[in-house]
């Protein structure tokens, strides 16, 4: 009788271990692939869609809102660097738009000979340019992480159009970061 009970316990214990293992393996599979699927979807579908729209302001606001969550994709085994290149570029553009508005306010104030207003607008313009430069620098640093093997001075070869596009956006990130830093 005792043997029978012990055998039953072993039997259920083995099933329990197997079930837990299966659940764990499945969850790992889902987590691994969902990260890759999510990044793949954003890269192949969402980014081209956003770039296609003519409402630049909406794209920039979206990037500004989501930029912070992009690095967290690394937690589900997806490489977020290429996405960060374009999201930081777009959120940098957001700050640039605001800087441009402040520059217009500065010019208007100068035209109206309003010194205080012009000073205020200029301070804000420089703050936004500095913010844009910081975001664009982050984008450029992500480019270095996304393509660590790429040469610094030669022309690189890419396997896909997407890669070529991210590379160019990353280079623009670097260039704009320098220009906006100097202007701020």
């Amino acid at each position: 009788m005792k043997m029978l009970i012990r055998r039953k316990i072993y039997y259920w214990l083995i099933w329990l271990i197997l079930t837990l293992f299966l659940l764990y393996a499945t969850s790992m599979l889902v987590i691994n692939n969902s990260g890759k699927m999510l990044v793949g979807f954003i890269e192949d579908q969402a980014v081209p869609y956003v770039l296609k729209t003519d409402d630049v302001a909406m794209g920039c606001v979206m990037a500004e809102a989501l930029s912070l969550s992009i690095p967290s994709l690394a937690q589900i085994n997806a490489s977020p660097y290429k996405l960060a290149v374009i999201f930081e570029f777009l959120s940098g553009s957001c700050a640039e738009f605001k800087a441009r508005e402040e520059e217009l306010r500065y010019i208007r104030a100068l035209h109206a000979k309003n010194v205080t207003e012009a000073q205020d607008a200029r301070i804000l313009q420089k703050r936004f340019l500095n913010l844009a430069a910081q975001r664009q620098l982050k984008g450029y640093l992500n480019l270095e992480l996304a393509y660590p093997e790429m040469p610094g001075n030669g022309c690189p070869q890419f396997s896909s159009w997407n890669d070529e596009f991210y590379w160019l956006v990353g280079l623009m990130d670097g260039l704009l970061a320098v220009l906006n830093d100097l202007a701020s």
Partner: protein, 330 residues
């Protein structure tokens, strides 16, 4: 009351004048950005400045002379032809630190010193530091910390700016071959390996990608060759009477920020690139610079009054210096 206060912020009448701004990056550069702020301040003093960007310093000076600009902003080297007193501020090795520079600029920006800022028809209305100039070398063994560089210097090629007689005089004193070039060309030649040494503020290290010229063996000598400055000059008769003093006070108020910016660029050069030089070599450099300054003073390039002020500041801050007791004083 609020209405009265807000009305005070408006300038009822402002004369329109043109300001030619030299910036290597044109309207996108940091100097042009500073001048946008200056434009606001000038509006408060009753002048509406229209900014014109120049990427060639010589052209800006020529246009100012020709009357195409009412005011101009460029480096101290270029301003020497309009006012040799303030143009001597960047004399070779004259000011070893930013603290020395601040003392000098504060002194000469005071209302009592205003006659020195005027050289009719021109008036210097602002001096803003760009940063200390350092020597960039492509081979650090040229200035090894424990060696005497006396014999080595004669064989190295130094790039000098073609518009600065001071640099040409210095290399002729050193007896080294030199290659004169315009400001932007100089760094291209250094990067291409055509010259062994070039000089400039820390900001050019990144802007002109000097790491290419430094290679794996080069470095930056931690010894300020000169204190470079940005100077604003006006045609005095074209501007309101108090404009000059207001502007000098404004420029002085921007001193700390400008120095912070320059130091920020210096910190961006990694520690491994900085080269210290031995005490004996430092003394030798001081002697060479001093001889250069005296020679240029006698030739009329440097202004004796400015050299005297800088000498007094150096001796005030460090009375132990040998030049303070030397027979031939600046």
């Amino acid at each position: 009351m609020a209405v009265v206060l807000s009305l005070n912020c408006f300038v009822a009448l402002a004369e329109t004048k043109s300001l030619c701004v030299f910036d290597l990056l044109g309207a996108n550069g940091p100097i042009y950005a500073q001048m946008k702020d200056y434009k606001i301040a000038a509006l408060g003093w009753g002048v509406d400045l229209q900014l014109k960007p120049y990427i060639n310093e010589g052209q800006a000076a020529a246009d100012f002379k020709a009357g195409l600009c009412d005011a101009v902003s460029f480096t101290g080297i270029q301003s020497r032809q309009f006012n040799s007193f303030t143009g001597s501020l960047d004399a070779m090795g004259a000011l070893p630190s930013y603290a020395h520079l601040k003392t000098v600029i504060s002194t000469i920006s005071s209302p009592q010193a205003s006659p020195l800022m005027i050289n009719k028809p021109y008036e210097v209305v602002g001096i803003i530091p760009i940063g200390a100039a350092y020597l960039f070398v492509n081979d650090r063994s040229l200035v090894s910390e424990h060696e005497d560089t006396k014999n080595k210097l004669s064989s190295i090629r130094i790039a000098v700016m073609d518009n600065d007689p001071a640099q040409i005089e210095l290399v002729s004193l050193l007896g080294t071959p030199s290659l004169s070039a315009a400001i932007a060309e100089m760094y291209k030649k250094f990067n291409a390996g055509l010259v062994d040494v070039c000089y400039g503020p820390a900001v050019v290290y990144q802007a002109m990608e000097l790491h290419k010229g430094l290679g794996s063996k080069g470095g930056v000598i931690r010894f300020p060759v000169a204190q470079l400055s940005l100077q604003i000059i006006i045609r005095q008769a074209e501007f309101p009477e108090q404009f000059g003093q207001n502007s000098r006070n404004y420029a002085l108020s921007k001193f700390n920020k400008a120095v912070q910016l320059a130091q920020g660029y210096e910190h961006r050069i990694a520690l491994q690139w900085w080269l210290s030089i031995s005490e004996s070599n430092q003394q030798r450099y001081h002697d060479i610079y001093r001889k250069t300054r005296l020679s240029l003073r006698d030739k009329g390039v440097y202004d004796a009054r400015m050299l005297r002020i800088m000498h007094l500041v150096r001796c005030k801050k460090n009375p132990q210096l040998s030049e303070c007791t030397a027979a031939e004083k600046e």
